[in-house]
């Protein structure tokens, strides 16, 4: 299917995002770095502003009306955030970011569960957030860390998964829902089914998936599903762990302090109910309110529609980039098999230089190892350039990208 620019004009929500009217050195801001962090709609900015301006008080503690209101706002945000991805509020825990959500599992669950006879299985396409916590947890417990390979197209092999699971020692499979470099959409539901059949638990890193496509954690059935607010049109400073409540109940606490306790004596403490057992100290209140507004915005937009829009932009970008000389695209070759992002390399131009030159044209892309150094090693590159899309991108953004890449090629010719 040939994608033309004209098929892509159906969704244009740029006006909802104040920053997009900014000019960079006189140029239109072409923001193609949403997989890194997303921009925020007016609605989210206004919710945070309103919170501090009119509603701010500490929660879970206050008796006066302002505090009761703040508590209600915070817990209502949790309900909506949980529901947005099909989860239960009591099993939806707020953390500082996706990384902290994964670390919660790596400390509380893994250190209490892993033994030297066990293995944790990660994949070659993982973000450092889903690698390094397992390196530390396996080192601490004596368990093994093993890896699933990716093929030429950037796909995992379910056969290799089965072979690993058949060894009988895999206690946890930790895998990205969508790769932040390759874009690969992993068959997480199938991975969970096979892992559960083999008695292994599964953690899905949904940092890239939740912002881009409809996600239903109930259907996926993973024990742990982690994602992050700032990539999903929400504020910085908040991540989400959605888990199986029964598993959470059995886990020891992680961060300790106020709110997560039931009773503290000099000798010992007992723990609060879920989800508060895993939320120590003053919560990210304004951030939860902001993320609540973000999921409201996304729900109103419709995630199926957002996904389709980003799929079309991705298809268009793949097509346009492939038409240039000296470009190598990493990951699946069809937009259907990938999330809304494209990583590529340009012959003779280091990604850093490319991103710098593009930046001067107002085109914001990320040039980096994308916190995925083992994957870079596999691809045999020090870094790649990545363009990533969100609902607020339009086909002209892809056109601007292509024009800027061409111009960089001319400079480095």
């Amino acid at each position: 299917m040939t994608t033309t620019a004209s098929t892509m004009t159906e969704l244009d929500v740029r006006a909802d995002f104040p920053i997009l009217s900014r000019k960079i050195g006189g140029k239109r801001l072409v923001y193609l770095d949403s997989s890194n962090t997303s921009q925020k709609p007016e609605r989210v900015i206004a919710a945070i502003d309103d919170y501090y301006r009119n509603r701010n008080a500490n929660i879970h503690r206050g008796v006066y009306p302002l505090a009761v209101e703040a508590d209600a706002l915070f817990e209502a945000a949790r309900e909506r955030i949980a529901a947005f991805t099909g989860g239960e509020a009591r099993a939806t825990i707020f953390t500082a970011n996706a990384t902290a959500a994964i670390n919660l599992v790596a400390y509380s669950w893994a250190r209490a569960s892993l033994t030297p006879q066990d293995a944790v299985l990660v994949t070659e396409m993982e973000h450092h957030a889903n690698i390094v916590p397992w390196q530390l947890a396996t080192a601490a417990t004596g368990a093994q860390l093993r890896w699933l390979d990716i093929d030429e197209q950037g796909l995992l092999s379910l056969d290799q998964l089965d072979a690993e699971l058949a060894t009988g020692d895999v206690k946890l499979v930790a895998v990205a829902h969508v790769s932040n470099v390759l874009g690969t959409i992993n068959p997480v539901k199938e991975i969970v089914r096979r892992a559960h059949d083999a008695g292994a638990r599964v953690l899905i890193d949904g940092a890239q998936a939740v912002p881009q496509m409809p996600v239903d954690v109930g259907t996926i059935g993973a024990d742990f599903y982690a994602w992050t607010g700032h990539k999903a049109l929400g504020p910085t400073g908040i991540g989400v762990l959605q888990a199986d409540a029964a598993v959470l109940e059995q886990m020891p606490p992680f961060l300790a302090g106020g709110d997560m306790i039931e009773r503290v004596t000099r000798e010992r403490s007992t723990w609060n109910e879920l989800p508060w057992k895993f939320e120590a100290g003053t919560s990210m209140i304004a951030e939860a309110v902001g993320l609540g507004a973000a999921v409201d915005y996304l729900a109103a937009l419709g995630m199926t529609r957002a996904r389709e829009h980003e799929r079309m932009l991705t298809a268009y970008a793949l097509e346009q980039l492939s038409a240039l000389d000296g470009i190598q695209i990493h990951g699946p070759l069809t937009a259907d098999a990938r999330g809304g992002l494209v990583s590529f390399s340009v012959d003779g131009i280091h990604p850093h230089d490319l991103a710098e030159l593009l930046g001067r044209e107002g085109v914001c892309v990320r040039a980096s190892h994308h916190c995925a150094q083992p994957l870079m090693a596999k691809l045999g590159v020090p870094a790649t350039t990545r363009a990533s899309f969100a609902a607020y991108n339009v086909s002209e953004d892809v056109d601007a990208l292509i024009a800027a890449v061409r111009s960089a090629q001319r400079i480095f010719a």
Partner: protein, 130 residues
């Protein structure tokens, strides 16, 4: 005069009915509200499937103590099975006052202890938000 602290509530707070220990008893449970430190214990004597007698004890705010006192007057003589099914609405209707989300937990503490005592399940979620 404040609505929440009607004479009726204050009267029960200051002179709680059925307060104290019940020995011997057939059922008992103890609940604690970590938010404010309120504690309520309940002890029940059962005869013919009914609550023959009941006492509550502990300490807490006027809402939790008055709610407990008011509830005990209704509970004595009630079918045990039926008592186990009483819900938040029942308690709040008995109190007859508007209660904020935070204070609901106070108002429902006796009911939570009651259910715990009868069913052995202490998990009825009178959580911080409901």
């Amino acid at each position: 005069m404040d609505d929440l602290y009607r004479d009726f509530i204050l009267e029960h707070y200051k002179r709680p009915r059925n307060f104290g220990e019940l020995e011997p008893h057939d059922l008992e449970a103890h609940e604690y509200n970590p938010l404010c430190g309120d504690e309520i214990g309940v002890q029940i004597k059962v005869a013919d499937g009914k609550i023959a007698d009941l006492r509550f004890n502990g300490h807490g705010c006027a809402i939790s103590q008055a709610a407990a006192s008011i509830a005990t007057e209704e509970l004595i003589g009630m079918d045990v099975e039926e008592a186990a099914k009483l819900d938040a609405d029942w308690m709040l209707a008995l109190l007859g006052i508007d209660i904020s989300a935070t204070r609901r937990k106070c108002a429902l503490l006796l009911l939570k202890a009651l259910r715990h005592a009868i069913t052995g399940d202490g998990s009825w979620p009178v959580g911080a938000t409901d």
